[in-house]
Symmetry: C2
């Protein structure tokens, strides 16, 4: 690997000088700067996009804003975005808004001020108009809006699959956990589930939850069994909540899936390591991230005929929290 020392040696300057050129801080004479940039080019000190963008005089930074990196679903999205962006020679800056609108606003402006050439957002407050002043290509990820291009999975189909599977496997009293009302994909999956249940003979109750966060998941699980002890099947709002419910049910001595069936949502890696392993509706997180990045690149490159939005399919993954056959 070519190092900064090799560059310094080639240019006949100190490492500190090369560093000043790369970081654009401190004075460097024009001739010296030229020597350094030539050395970088000659040695192909690369795939370092920073040096390359110094040549081209434009940033190759993309901003990605996530709502909660402690939910493993979002790091998976990020990996997809990162791989695509990095193959295209761009770098990714991550922000974690923690579902907080002020943090979200701060990150938007931080990204803009740092000259990102585009932005991908998976956060929750798109409808507040806080992206309107942003004069940059924007793609929404795992979110839906009328105003911006978006990549998301088919929530209605996901909800429907979960409900129909449980009914088919003999569930009689289903509790549907309704996700936060300001997150449209969560509402889609809720609506899909309820519409399927309305077509069936099963009884069901709806339990509202106001967040997806891991810290709250244990609370939702306790509330569920306290309020609805007759429940024999749960459509959880996401996998984190489903795993908390599974844990609580085992503590209460319930047999899984005989006494209680559970279906999660997302298919985070932890689903296949829980015991019993968790049946869930799989969203193709990594692929969603890749597609969002691809859509953003097309917008940045001003390509013709860009998709307005991309909906990806979901899939029911049967593991051991649902009955066989």
């Amino acid at each position: 690997m070519v190092t900064i020392k090799d560059v310094a040696k080639e240019a006949g300057v100190s490492v500190a000088t090369v560093s000043r050129v790369l970081n654009e801080n401190g004075y460097v004479g024009v001739d010296t700067k030229k020597k350094v940039l030539q050395a970088i080019a000659k040695l192909n000190y690369s795939p370092n996009e920073v040096a390359r963008s110094l040549y081209k005089r434009r940033s190759r930074l993309i901003g990605l804003l996530l709502p909660d990196i402690t939910n493993p679903f979002f790091p998976q999205l990020a990996r997809g975005v990162e791989d695509e962006v990095s193959e295209a020679g761009f770098r990714l800056l991550l922000g974690n808004s923690d579902e907080n609108v002020q943090k979200e606003l701060d990150y938007i402006q931080t990204f803009a001020q740092n000259n990102v050439v585009g932005m991908i957002s998976a956060t929750s407050h798109v409808d507040y108009g806080i992206y309107d002043a942003l004069n940059l290509p924007l793609v929404l990820l795992d979110r839906i809006s009328d105003e911006y291009p978006a990549v998301y999975a088919d929530g209605e189909e996901g909800g429907r699959l979960a409900a129909e599977t449980l009914v088919e496997k003999g569930a009689k009293q289903i509790t549907v956990m309704k996700g936060p009302s300001h997150i449209k994909p969560a509402q889609d999956r809720y609506r899909g589930a309820v519409e399927a249940l309305n077509r069936s003979e099963a009884s069901y109750t709806v339990m509202s939850t106001t967040s997806f966060s891991f810290e709250d998941a244990k609370g939702w699980a306790e509330e569920l069994f306290a309020k609805y002890p007759e429940t024999d099947a749960v459509i959880a709002s996401n996998d984190m909540v489903a795993i908390a419910i599974l844990h609580e049910a085992l503590q209460l001595g319930k047999r899984i899936p005989e006494d209680l069936q559970i279906i999660g949502y997302d298919d985070i890696p932890q689903c296949s390591l829980s015991y019993p392993t968790l049946s869930t509706v799989r969203q193709p997180a990594y692929e969603m991230g890749r597609q969002a990045a691809r859509l953003l690149m097309k917008t940045i490159n001003k390509e013709q005929e860009i998709e307005k939005s991309i909906q990806l399919p979901v899939q029911l993954i049967e593991r051991n929290t649902t009955r066989k056959g």
Copy 2:
């Protein structure tokens, strides 16, 4: 909340103009710019640090580089850093190096080029000298080096605690999983465990693992039971690996903790949701993040008497993968 529209109205300009001022792109006349900045100040359009830093003409950005955001331990570190940094009026940019030295190098330079005022790194390649050219305050997190200030937990004590607990609880044939050799805290905990085992009567075998990643964890678990079927206790290299081992053991029909005891490392949130719940050595991740941010702030503010490094205590958390009493 004061919005960008309020600012535009107060300044008598368009939202696009305010946006150009905030983002420093496009032409804005000096008088107009002044009006916008005055409107921002008058309306206290804030806690928006971007606007504030435009006044002060210095960035208030901190860069945080993580090795693997899909391991829940690192998002917890990030939360600690983020809360501390944000209380101090700074913003955090995250990078995920994926344990890849080239990505790490790219992020270092991306951060530097975007004028971060300091950097925190929890990545693995500190010893390669790639931070040397960085003319910025740097604090290492969950990593140790002779050259840079660092915040980490007491690995040796952690390893010792795990080993002594298993011996005390009757383990006869212990497998110690040795983490990646270039990560010093992993080596510390390994050494602590082995030294304690050498003082005991228990037999043990050492199994080398070259990564901490979730994708590899299942492989390590399978290898463990294939190679060392006599194992009655495992000191896992981290919780992700421990949860994979727990899962594999249950698949093989082992009773936990009667046939096999397991102790993890980190205490990620998932430990208390596995079944049985996972005994582990707790690293105070959130507090480590906070302390690293505090140490970095002190360095940035050039305070006197700054700690060279901070070691935090670890704690054994007994749950249900170790025997009682």
